[in-house]
C-alpha cells in the first residue's frame, strides 16, 4: 500500500494516527495546547470511517474514567490532555494500572505549577515517570521528538499497553504538539471485532457467556496478603518491561567527549547546539531517551564511560537529572541545565551552559 505524506501539527498527527491505528474510542476534554487532537477527531468524524467513537466529556476526570471502562471491555481506548488536565486524570491512571488495563494517554505538556502557562514545558517528568497517582505503579512513557514520532508512537503505545496491560503515556509538549512537519501516514487499519476481543482478551468485560465465569474488572482487594501478591505481580511485569522495552537514540556519540542527555523538544534543540559546538571543535554528542520509563539506565551508563561530563538539558528545574545521576552512579560529572515556566532554551545558551558547567 502506497504511503501517504501529509503536513500536519503534532496534535493532528495524534488524532490521525488514532483513527488509522483502529482505535475504538477517544474521550477527551479541551485544553490548550492540545485541543487540536479532539478538534481533528471531530472534523474527521471517524465513526463513519472506522466506527471509532469520539466523545467530548464533561471533564478530564470523566474522560479518564471513560477510558478505564472502555479498556475494561478490551477496547483500544485513549485520551489526551495537557498538564492541569493530566493532574485531574491521576485518579483514573492509578485505577487503570491497578486493574491492569491497557490504555493510552497523551500529555502535551505546558508550564506549571498550577494553571501555569500554555507554553511548552517538560515539568511533568516526575509526575509521569514516577507514577503520578496513588500506589505503586508506573506508566510506560514514550517521548516523541517530532511530529512523525507523535504519529508513530500512538500505535507503539497501544502495542506496549496491551502487551503489559498497563497504561502507556506519550509525553509530548506544547512545541511538538503545535509544530507542523511532514508525516508519513498509514492506511486505515480495521478495528478489532468483538469476537477477536472476546477470544484474545479472556479477562475483558464483554458480557458473560454460559461457558465461562463472570469477568470482574477491579483494583480492589481488601485482603492485604492478596493485595501484596497483586502488587508483586505488577512489579514483576515492570521488571520485564525494564528489561525489554527500553528505547533510546544516540547522535554524534562515536567520538564524543561530552554528552547531552535530553528528550523531546530539548533533544531537538540540543542537535542544533551540537552543530554549533562541533564548529568550535567541541566533541559533544546526544543521548536521547525515547522511553522515559523504563529509563535507558544501562545504556546511558555505558555511553557515559567514555565522556568527561554530561549536561542534562530539560525544560524544567531539574527532574530527569536525578535519573541520569542514578544511571551513571555519579561516576561522571552530570549537571542540569534548564529553562522553564514555558521558556524554550536557545541552542547558544545550551552551549554556554556546557562550557560553564561541564567543560
Amino acid at each position: 500500500m502506497a504511503k501517504e505524506l501529509k503536513l500536519m501539527k503534532g496534535n493532528e498527527a495524534i488524532a490521525e494516527s488514532a483513527i488509522r491505528a483502529g482505535v475504538d474510542g477517544y474521550f477527551g476534554y479541551p485544553i490548550t495546547p492540545q485541543s487540536e487532537v479532539l478538534e481533528h477527531l471531530m472534523i474527521e468524524n471517524p465513526v463513519e470511517k472506522t466506527g471509532m467513537v469520539v466523545l467530548q466529556a464533561e471533564s478530564e476526570t470523566a474522560s479518564i474514567n471513560m477510558v478505564y471502562a472502555g479498556a475494561a471491555c478490551g477496547k483500544k481506548v485513549m485520551t489526551s490532555s495537557s498538564s492541569p488536565g493530566i493532574s485531574l486524570m491521576q485518579e483514573g491512571l492509578s485505577y487503570i494500572a491497578g486493574a491492569e488495563l491497557p490504555a493510552v494517554v497523551v500529555n502535551v505538556v505546558r508550564g506549571g505549577p498550577g494553571l501555569g502557562t500554555i507554553q511548552p514545558s517538560q515539568a511533568d517528568y516526575f509526575q509521569t515517570t514516577k507514577g503520578g497517582g496513588h500506589g505503586d505503579y508506573r506508566l510506560i512513557t514514550l517521548a516523541p521528538a517530532s511530529v512523525q514520532e507523535m504519529y508513530d508512537f500512538v500505535q507503539l503505545a497501544f502495542d506496549l499497553a496491551f502487551k503489559y496491560r498497563n497504561p502507556a503515556i506519550i509525553l509530548s509538549d506544547g512545541m511538538i504538539g503545535q509544530v507542523m512537519e511532514k508525516v508519513v501516514i498509514d492506511d486505515y487499519k480495521p478495528r478489532w471485532t468483538d469476537e477477536y476481543i472476546a477470544k484474545t482478551f479472556p479477562w475483558a468485560a464483554v458480557g458473560k457467556p454460559a461457558s465461562r465465569n463472570h469477568n470482574i474488572i477491579t483494583s480492589l482487594e481488601l485482603d492485604s496478603a492478596k493485595q501484596e501478591q497483586i502488587n508483586i505481580n505488577i512489579q514483576k511485569k515492570y521488571k520485564v518491561c525494564e528489561e525489554k522495552e527500553v528505547r533510546y537514540e544516540m547522535i554524534n556519540c562515536e567520538d564524543a567527549e561530552y554528552l547531552f542527555v535530553a528528550y523531546g523538544s530539548s533533544a531537538r534543540i540540543c542537535q542544533k547546539t551540537i552543530e554549533l559546538a562541533r564548529a568550535e571543535g567541541i566533541k559533544v554528542g546526544l543521548f536521547r531517551p525515547i522511553t522515559l520509563w523504563p529509563f535507558p539506565s544501562k545504556q546511558l551508563k555505558e555511553a557515559a564511560k567514555n565522556v568527561k561530563g554530561i549536561l542534562s538539558v530539560e525544560m524544567n528545574a531539574g527532574q530527569m537529572i536525578e535519573d541520569v545521576k542514578l544511571a551513571t552512579e555519579c561516576r561522571v560529572k552530570a549537571e542540569h541545565f534548564g529553562r522553564y515556566g514555558g521558556m524554550i532554551p536557545d541552542p547558544n545558551e545550551i552551549l554556554v551552559a556546557l562550557k560553564k558547567q561541564i567543560m
Binding site: 476526570t61 478505564y68 475494561a72 458473560k208 469477568n215 470482574i216
Partner: protein, 255 residues
C-alpha cells in the same frame, strides 16, 4: 413424604435466580441492597440478557456488588460509574449496561458525571440507592441526609446553616431532556418490592428504545448507621424519608 418427594420442579415456589452467585453477601441484616440486587438479577434472568449485560459497581457499601451478580462487572472509582457506563455503552451499543450507586457516590462526588451522563441521554440504566448516609465509611452525612438527622459528621443533626439542604438529585435529573424514565421506588414491604421490580424491568427494557437514561431511585435504609433495628429503620424510612422523597414516577416514557 421423603425429602426427594418434596424437592421437585412442580413444587418449586421460589428459588434464587442463577444471575446471583453463591457468594454470601456482606450486607447487614435488614439492609435493602440484598433485595435490590435480587430484583436486578431476576430482571436480567427474565429478560434472558445475562450474556449481554455489563454492570458497574460504585464505591460504598455496594462496592463488592460484582461478587454477587453473575454477569461481567466493572468496578468504578468513587462517583465515576456514569462516565464508565457512558463509555461501555457507546463502545458496546448492543449490550445492556447498568450502573449501581449509592447517594454519596451518585449525588456528591459523582454529581458532574451523573448530571452529564443524564443530560447526554446515555442509553443506560442507572440504579440509585438512597439511604441518606455513607454506610461503608461508618455513617457520615450524605448529600441526601435529612435535616435534623444525626450522622457521624453532623452529630447534632443536619442544619441548613452548617450543611445546606438535602439534595433531591432525582427531581433534578428528571428535568433533563436526556432522561427518558425517572422513578422513585422502595423495597421495605413486599408490595413495594413488586412495584420496584416492575420499574427496574422497565428501566432495562428501555435500553432497546435508545431514548436516553432510565433512572430508578430506591429509597432504602441503613439500620446499622441509623442505629436502629431493621424493623424500626423501615418504620423510620416510611415516616421520615418518604415525605421528603415521595415514591412514584417522576418522568414516564410517552405511551
Amino acid at each position: 413424604m421423603t425429602r426427594e418427594e418434596i424437592i421437585k420442579p412442580e413444587n418449586l415456589v421460589y428459588r434464587r435466580t442463577p444471575v446471583l452467585t453463591d457468594n454470601i453477601m456482606h450486607y447487614c441484616p435488614g439492609c435493602g441492597h440484598g433485595t435490590i440486587h435480587r430484583l436486578i438479577a431476576e430482571v436480567i434472568e427474565e429478560m434472558g440478557i445475562q450474556d449481554k449485560t455489563i454492570g458497574i459497581s460504585p464505591v460504598g457499601c455496594s462496592v463488592l456488588a460484582y461478587n454477587y451478580f453473575d454477569v461481567d462487572f466493572v468496578e468504578a472509582a468513587h462517583g465515576r460509574a456514569p462516565a464508565c457506563g457512558t463509555a461501555i455503552k457507546r463502545l458496546n451499543p448492543d449490550k445492556y449496561v447498568f450502573t449501581y450507586q449509592g447517594d454519596g457516590d451518585l449525588a456528591a462526588i459523582g454529581t458532574a458525571e451523573t448530571i452529564h451522563a443524564c443530560n447526554r441521554g446515555e442509553n443506560i440504566t442507572m440504579i440509585f440507592v438512597n439511604n441518606a448516609i455513607y454506610g461503608m465509611t461508618g455513617g457520615q452525612m450524605a448529600p441526601t441526609t435529612l435535616l435534623g438527622m444525626k450522622t457521624a459528621t453532623c452529630p447534632y443533626g443536619r442544619t441548613v446553616e452548617a450543611n445546606g439542604y438535602p439534595l433531591k438529585i432525582t427531581e433534578l435529573i428528571a428535568q433533563l431532556p436526556g432522561t427518558y424514565y425517572v422513578t422513585r421506588q422502595a423495597v421495605f414491604t413486599p408490595a413495594h418490592v413488586r412495584k420496584c421490580k416492575k420499574a427496574i424491568r422497565q428501566a432495562f427494557e428501555n435500553q432497546n428504545l435508545k431514548k436516553g437514561v432510565s433512572f430508578v431511585e430506591v429509597v432504602s435504609n441503613c439500620n446499622s448507621n441509623w442505629k436502629m433495628t431493621a424493623t424500626k429503620a423501615n418504620q423510620w424510612l416510611e415516616e421520615n424519608m418518604l415525605p421528603f422523597y415521595p415514591l412514584g414516577d417522576l418522568k414516564t416514557p410517552e405511551k
